[in-house]
Symmetry: C2
Subunit: 249 residues, 2 copies
DNA sequence: GCAATAGTGTCTTTAAGACATTATGGG
DNA sequence: CCCATAATGTCTTAAAGACACTATTGC
């Protein structure tokens, strides 16, 4: 907690924050468990404590670029799914002063992780580690809230979008997909019904491949039709549609 | 477009935005039509043009407070539903320089509007007006995107939350509620099925009152059980639940 | 063949969509 | 009584949940 709070203002006389950060909340599946990427802070305040791998947005930089850049620095993967989560800008959230933080949700597919994560909380490039979202360490600032919001978003969109694309490898089997969905949602799915639902969503397609597990019948391979996460076309059967009157949909 | 872009930075040497604004996207129903509150800008740039009733966040102020304050100044209503939508901070979005904007979704119940809106786009306190979201005027900055995002959020949450609380009066009839839902979603609902769905959601309750229209049978009055918008308890029947194994829900 | 796991089929239950019927006001 | 509108009931269709059964591997 070195440094006193600082005040900035612009030439119009308006007060301004003294910094804007982008904070990627990066999820990945490590050994089937939903984990979040955390790094040890190298600067004060809270040096050495765990936090999200974010950083300050530079002049002329889009915050999303910042998030992408920081993420690539730490994980080596680039061009991955990023979605704005929420902005945290309440006074007092950062002891250095008035600093606003834009949190982003990011997902890393399992196959991209080879060589980076080596087990439970295994270290990666720069003092970073994958921590289970179920049992994170003590976190700096309000990063715990950011992770919570990230998990909530992931859960909320799971069945309405193909957001799971971001976590699954390009090709996957139904049991694999099921475990991912179960891990995220915290629910148990009946295998045959899960299959039916996922296929009915229209998001996945058989690839023709098959994969053998330790034992038992080999599993068919599937892939998401759209590789970029987006909202599903799935007609959620929510409201009782009236016998069509106008041209409205 | 007076004034040159300005650069600010904090004493740590990090570059910082030269301002942070809160922009409430305020929706209300005027004569059954979904409208958004817009004001004419009194300052440069784009003086005289229409924009959201936002303003700069002051030092020590939470952005949500700013939004609430600005909103109260313009409409006279306070303590209404506010929900963070998205932050816009890309370079070039504001000709004055690097200014980040946090957009908020706000809803004003029909009964609070008496005396403020007087018809289609009628003026209120300070050069403000309710504009139909279907046909807004030309807007400053990226305020059109903010309104679009607001409408999307409203639509998305309509059946999963009691967000409509914010737009409906305390007591309302089924036909009233139906019209609101139809206006927001752009769909037509079959009256008896709409009733069944809304009651099944567990969000509303009969109050005992009845209201007579111009003719026909009087309508029963209902009210939302929770007056603060929140997520619904409604079991959306999305995934095929497995015969319960663990204690997980 | 047996264990283990994946895939297919189908029966039951329940919710959604359609629509007829009844109820309650004003002329 | 007739018109207009709201409320109720119910029939049909389709999706979700449960679970039996078949298929394909290794041992």
């Amino acid at each position: 907690m070195t440094g006193l709070p600082i005040r900035a203002h612009n030439t119009s006389g308006y007060e301004a924050p003294s910094g804007l950060t982008a904070e990627p909340v990066v999820f990945a599946l490590v050994h089937g468990e939903l984990t979040v990427l955390l790094v040890r802070r190298v600067h004060e305040p809270f040096r050495g404590m765990w936090g999200l791998p974010g950083g300050f947005v530079g002049y002329g930089e889009a915050p999303e670029e910042t998030a992408q850049r920081k993420l690539t620095e730490k994980t080596g993967v680039g061009q991955i799914y990023l979605e704005q989560l929420k902005t945290y800008a309440d006074p007092g959230r950062d002891p250095r002063g008035w600093i606003a933080a834009i949190a982003y949700l990011a997902l890393i597919p399992a196959h991209s992780l080879q060589g980076y994560a080596s087990g439970e909380g295994g270290p990666l490039s720069d003092a970073g580690a994958w921590w289970p979202v179920a049992s994170p360490p003590e976190l700096v600032f309000d990063h715990d809230a950011m992770i919570r919001d990230g998990v909530d978003r992931l859960r909320g969109k799971l069945w309405y979008s193909n957001i799971a694309v971001g976590l699954l490898p390009h090709e996957f089997t139904m049991p694999e997909a099921r475990h991912v969905y179960e891990e995220i949602s915290g629910m148990q799915y009946e295998p045959s019904n899960f299959r039916r639902e996922l296929i009915a969503s229209g998001l996945v397609q058989r690839t023709g491949g098959r994969v053998m597990g330790k034992s038992g019948r080999p599993a068919d391979c599937y892939a998401f039709i759209d590789s970029t996460p987006s909202w599903s076309e799935r007609r959620s059967r929510i409201p009782a549609r009236k016998t069509e009157k106008t041209g409205q949909q």
